[in-house]
């Protein structure tokens, strides 16, 4: 696994964006970038040096969880990061009703007007993922295996 730990400047930029967009003021993970501009976070006790040492004797496939994706326009939270930060997210939330949720959880985009950029979707009490809005529509990022499979 190719791992590039985030440098302090990169972290500072990321934290500032997370705070500004979503009100996330604390990120208690060891952060590193893997391929495709994905940022993962590890909450365990090993230091970065110990992780690198482990990589020399073991075929490391995954470390921690996928949290963020760097897009050209900014940062997007992964589907599961919205739960990891559920107690910290204070803004950038868009609440949806049952009809839109049914579309969303089946992998469909939803036609709603909201601010452009990454938006965290909430249905009832649940955070149900992070989409990207162009102002007219929220594009779906629910991973395939996490969608409701329609019967028949």
């Amino acid at each position: 696994m190719n791992v590039k730990f985030l440098k302090s400047g990169e972290k500072k930029k990321l934290f500032s964006e997370l705070d500004e967009k979503f009100g996330i003021d604390k990120v208690n993970y060891l952060l590193f970038e893997t391929g495709k501009d994905k940022i993962r976070g590890y909450s365990g006790h090993l230091t970065r040096e110990e992780i690198m040492e482990l990589g020399e004797i073991a075929n490391v496939e995954i470390i921690g969880m996928y949290l963020f994706k760097k897009e050209v326009w900014g940062v997007r939270l992964s589907h599961d990061a919205v739960h990891a930060f559920s107690d910290k997210i204070k803004k950038g939330i868009f609440s949806i009703g049952k009809e839109d949720f049914d579309k969303w959880i089946r992998g469909n985009d939803i036609d709603v007007k909201c601010e452009k950029g990454a938006v965290i979707l909430k249905y009832g009490e649940d955070f149900v993922g992070c989409g990207v809005s162009n102002g007219e529509k929220i594009f779906n990022y629910v991973p395939n295996e996490r969608r409701i499979r329609s019967r028949g």
Binding site: Y29, G44, H45, L54, I57, A58, N59, H83, E145
Partner: protein, 329 residues
Amino acid sequence: MVYEMKPLFEERMRALLPNELDFEEFNKIVHERPRSFIRCNTLKISAEELFERLGKRWKVHQPFSEYPEIMWVEDFYGEDAPGVLGNAIEHLLGYYYVQEISSMMSVLALRPEPGEFVLDLCASPGSKTTQMAAMMKNTGTIIANDIKLDRVKILAANLERCGVSNVIATRSDGVGLCERMRKARYRFDKILLDAPCSGEGTLRSSPKTFKMWNVKVVEKMGREQKKLFANAIKCLKVGGEIVYSTCTHSPEEDEAIVDFALKNFPVEIEKINLPLKCRPGVTSWRNKEFDKNVEKSCRIYPQDNDSEGFFVTKFRLKEEIKDVQEEMK
């Protein structure tokens, strides 16, 4: 399709269950689909909250007051159960894991705690890894290994769904990985060796096991399990604990491994308290006598608990293992 026991399998099970009525109860229940158990993922939601939510739609029970995260969903029996439970919103959001009750026992025996360094040697699909991560509150570290990439991918998907962030997943054969970690002086507080096995305990959920069962597989697995144990134990801290478990009844894969451990390594069996009825390990099998202490192992039979079959033993390493001591010099 209804499968029947192969004659040799039946003969062996009758030897393990000499009481005719007991055997008949076993033979009856292994042809019935298992109950649907789920485990609340406390990394994402409290057991209380999940129970309340699911209780609005389904008949849900929390059978063990000391383990509120374990729930039995009464509505679903049969082949549709995994589909219904797997397609529910709460499952897709990672609020619970569909896990058979007996398979939860190894982690309840190991009792990993926050901050510990844990090795899960045969981890996929991740039911026990995610159970441990929840008990450890995403702290410490779990090295979760499996041998094949497709299995590691399934493990990864379950770790993501459950919001697990304290795991480092590796892909390696368990023996080789332990050997390299031992040489690099990695020592774990706890190790889970939920070993690959012939699967005799999974007849209810996987009836094809009736057809697939073969004594040669049992013997082959026994040899592999000894190798895995012999290497895993050398990665344990002195005073550390290792749980050996299988989902099979065959003593070649269960007590024979425990006997091998007791005769070759400075380990002692720790008493375990599990919320299921356990029968003691067998002390002799097919003209072989085992160390008397194998009795302290836990045999879980489906007819005792309306569950699948399982086997669990917990060891504590009393002192440094000799060849490891020599290497350290």
